[in-house]
Symmetry: C2
Subunit: 225 residues, 2 copies
Amino acid sequence: MERVISIPKPTLERLPLYYRRLLQWREEKVSIVSSADIGKNLGIDSAQVRRDLTYFGAVGRPGIGYKVEELISYLGELLGINNVNEAIIVGVGNLGRAICSYPGFAPYGLSIVAFFDIDPQIVGTKIRGHEVFHVNDLIHIVKRLKIQIGIITVPAREAQKVADQMVAGGIRAIWNFAPTRLHVPEEVIIRSEDLAVGLATLSHYLVREDLSERAEGLDRGISGS
Amino acid sequence: MERVISIPKPTLERLPLYYRRLLQWREEKVSIVSSADIGKNLGIDSAQVRRDLTYFGAVGRPGIGYKVEELISYLGELLGINNVNEAIIVGVGNLGRAICSYPGFAPYGLSIVAFFDIDPQIVGTKIRGHEVFHVNDLIHIVKRLKIQIGIITVPAREAQKVADQMVAGGIRAIWNFAPTRLHVPEEVIIRSEDLAVGLATLSHYLVREDLSERAEGLDRGISGS
DNA sequence: TAGTATTCGTGATAATTTTCACAAATGCTA
DNA sequence: TAGCATTTGTGAAAATTATCACGAATACTA
């Protein structure tokens, strides 16, 4: 139905796993890897790896494998990492702070350029050298800095209001950590991280552990090895 | 190949969404909902909702719908929520603290009963009324309290070591927030939350936004509405 | 150069998940 | 009770994703 070939969602989710492992290999001066190497390392079928890589436009050489440097470059392009992403974050509680300092982002070029909160105790203080602004200034600042990504780490009941303001400021992608569903115009992209999903599936499997059956799945999912 | 009918993974991921919304309905004194109601609210096809609910063992009445209270009870059972889950958390940085205070868990009966860290500055201090222990005491305490769930919020390079200790202490399920792949015995369940996956997919879609094609997906995924 | 061992790329197949569509069940109204 | 409007539960079809399996490309060795 679609003429544009889109990357399957599961493939997209594996992409960061590939990327992170490749960075490690580069660090270790490994210059070429095979789909089997990648697969064994990440617990993914090697045919799956090859299929994924072709989506990314990567080209390997039979009998040899893929050039690490080249793959990194391809994936980086696909992830929009090669150009820095500027973001703002609203809600500077523990979760907000945690996200700011999450080391996993380092390779992804995400740069948080402004912090917002509503708590007068927090507004005006500094975090990692940046002043925390009041949410009321959000629209203005976002417009001025032409920010594209907004991160929401406020309580669920505030989240929609914050999202509305982000949209009003022209933000095009929202990363939502509040456990609630947000309504935004169609052109705005939303990704919700729902920690309860993780907890729920874990505890479900725990409940079921007496049954021998267990799902496979990997980093995003449950695994038994 | 499996005789045991297992719940599809995507269904499992939707389960907490159902659960949370149902709690809201109960709060609002709504006693009966139809699959269409649920679907419209969560952006899931109503047939999908019905299919999912049958996996959960729920039974609705044609022409009427499902009893909210009954569904909550079924889902709660499936999630192991009805009996409290005790967990420990290792790594009391921002992320660890954020998880402890994440409001989304409230309905899930997760109870964090001990905190661990390696930083002497933190060990011995109190968090939410609980003393923070040194990681060296982990095995002992976990064994003694018979804890089943361990949460890892330490830097990636420490994560494997922590996982090993958890396993040694008899923990059966690990929720890993460190951006690395853990190796554990087959009987231990692992779920890794990789925040970079979220960031990566978000920024990917941002890069692609000029293409009209866009994935659908909902709370766990990207959506344009 | 010929032979062997790798490894990619991909058509075909299998497995999984979603959606369609409709019979059957239920309540409501008159 | 009969007729109508809902809504479930589920076979069957469609769509999506994962795996198999093999020809072709490449490097290496003798």
